[in-house]
Each structure stands twice: as C-alpha cells, then as structure tokens.
C-alpha cells in the first residue's frame, strides 16, 4: 500500500489558493500557484513566499555538541558565533554526501541542523551513530514550520510584521523574536534563491497566521506565493547544488565545486575520501552550460564530445526564466570543463550543441 503523503501546516492554504500540488519527499507540496515563470520573476524583481516546512530540523545540544558536529560535518563549526548559520555537508562512505545542511548556532552549546526532507531519517541515523553521551539530539521537524520570504522586497515586507532589526541582519545570521505577535520565531537571513531575503522557523501552530500576515503585508509589494518549481529554477540560475541532482552518495563538494565548505585542517568522517579526490583529482567536475542549439537539457541526459563519445551527464536543466536562455548543470570529464568548451547534449536522440559558461548564470 502506498504511504499517505504528509501535509505541512500550510496545506489547506495551498489548496485554497488553487496550487498545483505534487508529491515531494513524502509530502504533498505546491509545485506552483500562478506559473513557475511568473513566480520566479516575482522573486527576482519583488518577492515570493515559499512553504518549505517539509524540510527537517534537529536540535543538538550539550557539552559535546561542538566536537560532535565538527566530526560529522565538513565546515568549521568552531567558527560559528551565536546567531550565525553555516552551509555544510555530512560525508557519505561512498565519497559523496548523506546531505547538505545548514548549521545554526543557537546558544553556547546548542545548535540546530536543517536538512533536506528526503534525508531526515538518514541524517538521524548518522547523528545517533556518532553522538556521545555528552550531547543530545532531538528531531524537531514535525513541530517546526519553515517559510522562505525571498526577493529584494523581503526586508520591507518583514519589517511590516516585526520590530526586530531585520534590515541590519547580515547574510547567514539570525535573530529570534516576535513576528506578527508570535514569539520565538527564528528569523534567518538565508535562502536558496540567490535573491536575498529571509527564512522563518515557526512553531507549527502559528504557521498559517504568519503566512497570512506576510501575504497581507506583501500585497502592495507584489508578493506572490511560490512553489517548488520556482524554487528549483531560482537555485539553478544561481548554480546552487541540489541533493539528488548535483549531490549524491558518490558526488560531493569536491566534484561539485563546493570546496569552500570543506575544512581539511580538522578531522571529519570519511575525510580520507575527500582528500584523495582533492589531491588526486576527480574524473568529472560540475560545470554550468548554456545551449547553443534549441533544446532543454534535463536530468540524466548524456553529454558528449564532438565525436559523439560520452563525456558526462546532465544533473539539472531548464529554461532560465530571467534570461530566456536554456541552461544546465552537469558533470563533465575534466578536460572539457573550461569556459567556452563545446559540449553536445543528447536530447531525446538528437545531439544538440552547448557551451560551458561561468556560474552563476544570472
């Protein structure tokens, strides 16, 4: 029997708004409301509001929390100040990652990890496998709703709903405060759209109230509800990696050019696998490319050289709603990774030309 889809607290709102829904990581999630292109451009030019409550959160605390997180993640947790967040990943024994994640330092010995919905159980397994008695782990995914308010107008909209100094909040920093009368909201200057804005971690019971308040305050700024479709095209335009596409058990930060989240001057699990890739080189590296011929590259399409030999594979592709160009990310043999290199994408049996371009696309 198929497992029933999980619902975020905003689910009734999505249905009422007439969203096109899709199953994603076990949840019934909005793909789009008014069209992916429309929502995408609204985030780039004004603002969009996303329900990303499907994402998972863990609270990790105790005297051993820092050492524990240093051991299982690649970035340097010791550099995190209280009220600061960090992008990182948890290595997998196959040389890639279990998941990419955000690490928030909530207090001296208290952290929050934010992980992909599809990886919550696997991350939990890793956490419990490595945690000592001096650190406790709590899965708070179910009780935590997450809204992403993204775009150049996000700060104006959020200011209308809170007295916290959100305009002064630096990128990858956060504050905990009152939003629309609700206490204890973690307001984080983060997001995965490259458009600026905030992510709000909200007690589940208050999610609809905060959504409504933001939508109301955002009406004059052109705020639109946005779905996972636009979230994906927005991150793709910025060249951001997505687990399951650019990242996997075998593909990690070295080949995906996320080397800046790996600190080799500390110890972490499976570090030797990353080190050997870094020093010995990888067979293939992630590149951004733009179609010269007309065709949309899609996940898993083959990439070939001029003589038709396979030299790589597409990880993500789409029309760029901002530019109209047809863009993609993919892994190619290292001798084809230079900007300007010609690639040919096998698009349903036709070999269509593309060229490697610099990331981000916009």
């Amino acid at each position: 029997m198929e497992k029933a889809l999980l619902l975020t607290p905003l689910h009734p709102v999505h249905i009422q708004l007439g969203a096109r829904m899709m199953p994603f990581a076990g949840y019934d999630m909005p793909l789009s409301y008014s069209g992916i292109r429309n929502e995408h451009l609204s985030v780039r030019n004004a603002c969009g509001l996303f329900d990303v409550s499907h994402m998972g959160q863990f609270r990790v605390e105790g005297g051993g929390a820092l050492n524990f997180l240093q051991h299982i993640t690649t970035n340097d947790v010791a550099r995190l100040k209280i009220r600061q967040a960090q992008y990182s990943c948890i290595p997998h024994p196959d040389g890639g990652i279990v998941d990419d994640l955000l690490v928030y330092r909530l207090a001296e010995q208290q952290y929050m990890l934010v992980v992909n919905a599809s990886r919550v159980d696997e991350v939990a397994d890793v956490l419990h496998a490595y945690a000592g008695a001096d650190c406790s782990i709590l899965n708070i995914s179910e009780e935590t709703a997450l809204l992403a308010l993204q775009g150049p107008m996000a700060v104006d909209i959020l200011e209308a709903c809170t007295t916290e100094a959100v305009r002064e909040l630096a990128y990858y920093h956060f504050v905990t405060g009152v939003v629309d009368g609700v206490e204890g909201i973690l307001i984080s200057a983060t997001g995965y759209t490259g458009a600026g804005g905030f992510e709000l971690y909200i007690p589940r019971a208050s999610a609809v109230k905060i959504w409504d308040a933001l939508m109301k305050a955002g009406a004059v700024y052109g705020l639109l509800p946005c779905g996972l479709g636009a979230r994906d095209t927005l991150r793709l335009e910025k060249g951001y990696c997505l687990n399951g596409y650019e990242l996997s058990y075998s593909s990690g930060p070295v080949e995906a050019r996320l080397d800046w989240i790996v600190r080799y001057n500390k110890d972490f699990i499976h570090k030797n696998l990353y080190l050997s890739k870094k020093t010995g080189g990888c067979d293939r590296y992630l590149v951004g490319f733009e179609m010269v011929d007309k065709g949309i590259p899609r996940h898993d399409f083959d990439i070939m050289n001029e003589s038709g030999q396979k030299i790589g594979v597409v990880s993500s592709g789409s029309e760029s709603p901002s530019t109209g160009k047809l863009i993609g990310l993919g892994f190619v043999d290292s001798d084809h990774q230079n900007e300007g290199s010609s690639l040919w994408i096998n698009i349903r049996g036709r070999s269509l030309k593309a060229k490697v371009v610099k990331l981000p696309f916009v």
């Binding site: 069209g35 292109r37 949309i296 899609r298 789409s318 029309e319």
Partner: protein
Amino acid sequence: MNIPDHLRYTADHEWVARKSDTALVGITDYAQGELGDIVFVEIETVGQALRQGDVFGTVEAVKTVSDLFMPVSGTLLEKNAGLDSTPEAVNSDAYGSGWMVRIQLDDPAQVDALMSPDEYRKHLGL
C-alpha cells in the same frame, strides 16, 4: 476548464477543428495547464504523411516535455510559425493563436470518431 463545443478531442488532450478535408490541431486548455509555462514547440514533420497516434512534435515546458501525437492520419501541411516567437500563446490561447499544425486528412470521418466535448469532459472526470 475551457472545452469549446465545436471541436473534437483525443485522450492525449489534443483538439481537432475540421474544415472540409483539412484540420487544425492543438492541445487542450487542460493540457497546457498541466504542462505549465511552455518554452517552445518543436515540429519538424511538416510535409510528412503520418498515421493516427504517430509523434509529430514535442512541446517543452519549464519543468516537463511532452510528445505531440497525430489525432488522426494525414499529411502535415504547415505548422504555426508564430509559436517560434510566442510559444506562450499555447498557454494563453490554446484553441486560437496557440494552434500547432494544419493537416490534410486521409479520412475526414476519423475526426468525427474522436471524442465529443461531453465525452472529453467525462475523460477528464469533470
């Protein structure tokens, strides 16, 4: 859901407007809604004689791609060249400026055998 009375429909969500022994073909309002923002329509079969059910082109949307199937047998006389520059017409005007191809019918009676608007409505579960 817009399902005009004067058209015939297929289970693959195409519409056919017959005029004597030729017909215009496009995709339905339901189909364009399911596909989402259409990026381009690719039809490279003009001049070819195709049979009912053959693929005559593809339509690429931001998130998906879908084949276009011949609703009836016939020869492709022309494609809607306007879609090269304004593919979004398929979204905004699926039964008008969003038409896709004009075909010479092998057998006009094939069109009459397609779904009526009521049958198509039932097919969609409406």
